[in-house]
């Protein structure tokens, strides 16, 4: 089973040189720590910044320079600042090549639910609905099952949706899967995790085709 950092590490392998990338809160944020050697990517944050750098050194933090998680950040050479409408123009207009975000549920059709649990305080969707409805390439980072051990990879989402038929790839603590027209296609398994475990942990249709390699991290 992968740790949070390892999920991020595996997702980082999906990055390609020259991509603009939007990372959601939580595990996705960690992806920035594992950019492969020799490639250059730019991070976009939907509150209006491109070329986001690491957290500032203690004492240099600037209240006027935050990311969408409201954390103090820095900006790298070649970065830029813009207003919220231009920020989502980039996102909606598909100028950002990859979005990585967390989820509570993903369906075998690629539907995603990650913003609302009926009966609980609803905080809002923030930019998630714009991101998932727009991006061509969406990777979900999440644990394969919830705290009660129930699968988060479902036939149909049970929670209110954030977007439909949009998730392309899922990296969990157990596996890497593509979302295909036929359902979840198992690509890789976490070190030491058996295909059997993944099958048991996946409620939605799972396609297991031939030998499934272990992830290389």
């Amino acid at each position: 089973m992968l740790k949070r950092e390892e999920i991020a590490q595996r997702i980082a392998q999906e990055l390609r040189d020259g991509w603009y990338v939007n990372l959601g809160i939580g595990i996705p944020t960690l992806v920035a720590n594992y950019i492969p050697e020799g490639i250059s990517v730019e991070f976009q944050s939907e509150n209006g910044i491109l070329g986001m750098g690491p957290f500032p050194y203690e004492g240099t933090e600037d209240a006027d320079l935050i990311n969408a998680g409201k954390q103090t950040v820095t900006i790298r050479d070649g970065g830029s600042i813009f207003d919220s409408s231009l920020s989502f123009a980039m996102i909606r207009g598909q100028h950002v090549q990859l979005t990585v975000l967390g989820a509570m549920e993903v369906s075998e059709k690629g539907d995603i639910a990650n913003w609302k649990i009926p009966g609980r305080m609803v905080k809002g969707m923030g930019g998630a609905m714009d991101l998932v409805a727009s991006a061509d390439n969406i990777i979900v980072a999440m644990s394969h099952t919830n705290k009660r051990g129930e699968s988060k990879l479902l036939k149909e989402c049970t929670l209110p949706l954030t977007g439909v038929a949009c998730v392309k790839k899922i990296v969990t603590n157990l596996a890497v899967l593509d979302v295909t027209d036929e359902g979840f296609k198992l690509l890789e398994r976490a070190p030491g995790v058996s295909v059997e475990t993944i099958i048991q942990s996946t409620e939605g249709k799972l396609i297991v085709d031939g030998e499934i390699p272990e992830m290389q991290i």
């Binding site: 944050s45 939907e46 509150n47 209006g48 910044i49 690491p54 957290f55 500032p56 050194y57 203690e58 004492g59 240099t60 933090e61 600037d62 209240a63 006027d64 320079l65 935050i66 990311n67 969408a68 998680g69 409201k70 954390q71 103090t72 950040v73 900006i75 600042i81 813009f82 207003d83 919220s84 409408s85 920020s87 989502f88 123009a89 996102i91 909606r92 539907d111 305080m121 609803v122 905080k123 809002g124 969707m125 923030g126 930019g127 998630a128 609905m129 714009d130 409805a133 727009s134 209110p160 949706l161 954030t162 977007g163 439909v164 038929a165």
Partner: protein, 232 residues
């Protein structure tokens, strides 16, 4: 042309009970701190607030929530605020949640004379309920309407008597688009400069969108998530 008003109290003159106001900022970054304080002093009630967030318990729009001055919030994300949660769950406060990009674009549209537009955001979700759906390029989109407000309250870094504004860093966020969408737009700035001091080529928001401007004071600029790394 001189749009300078003497104080934050003068700046918000005309905001009445039940009006709709837009308030710039993302989290606590780039919020019009002085205008909010003036609204608390004025005690105006029953406001509909269009703002990406709702502040925290003791800062930002949270100050208006404490005084129960807000009837309805139109936002994309409203976490981190217990009083908000209490009022929402008790039914005192109406809440309309909007995808962040649609919120930004609806404000811009309101300011730009575009009454409605199609966006893919929210298709297939409860956000799309009751909204017209149309496919473009093989992809379903929903029709969203422009937002405007009786007043827009925005915060900038520098401004001049013409109302021209320059923002600093990510404190820009929703401020320009909300400034466009206010019937009366009030800008508070950290520094009010003379006409001609701002380079016309590098003005973030032309003064035509601003009706009143003043220099704010005592900016606290609270940080919600102070994240740093150590120098070692």
């Amino acid at each position: 042309m001189n749009k300078i008003v003497a104080s934050s109290d003068k700046a918000i003159e005309g905001i009445l009970d039940g009006m709709t106001i837009m308030v710039g900022g993302f989290g606590l970054c780039g919020i019009p701190e002085n205008c909010i304080a003036a609204l608390v002093r004025k005690g105006v009630k029953g406001l509909t607030c269009i703002s990406n967030n709702a502040g925290v318990d003791d800062f930002g729009l949270g100050l208006l929530l404490q005084q129960k001055q807000i009837k309805k919030m139109i936002s994309s994300y409203v976490g981190e605020n217990e009083e908000f949660e209490r009022q929402m769950l008790s039914g005192e406060l109406e809440v309309d949640l909007i995808p962040q990009g649609s919120l930004a674009e609806r404000c811009r549209a309101g300011g730009a004379g575009i009454p409605a537009f199609f966006t893919p955001a929210g298709y297939g979700t409860e956000i799309a309920e009751g909204k017209e759906v149309r496919a473009y390029n093989g992809k379903p989109h929903i029709l969203e309407k422009a937002l405007t407000a009786d007043f827009a309250l925005v915060k900038a870094w520098k401004g001049d008597p013409y109302g021209n504004l320059v923002f600093k860093g990510t404190a820009r966020n929703f401020n320009p688009v909300m400034a466009m969408a206010g019937k009366i737009t009030v800008a508070e700035v950290e520094e009010l400069v003379e006409p001609g001091e701002l380079d016309p080529n590098f003005i973030h928001l032309p003064g035509v969108f601003v009706q009143r401007i003043y220099q704010g004071s005592h900016y606290e600029k609270r940080i919600e998530q102070r994240t740093v790394r150590s120098k070692n």
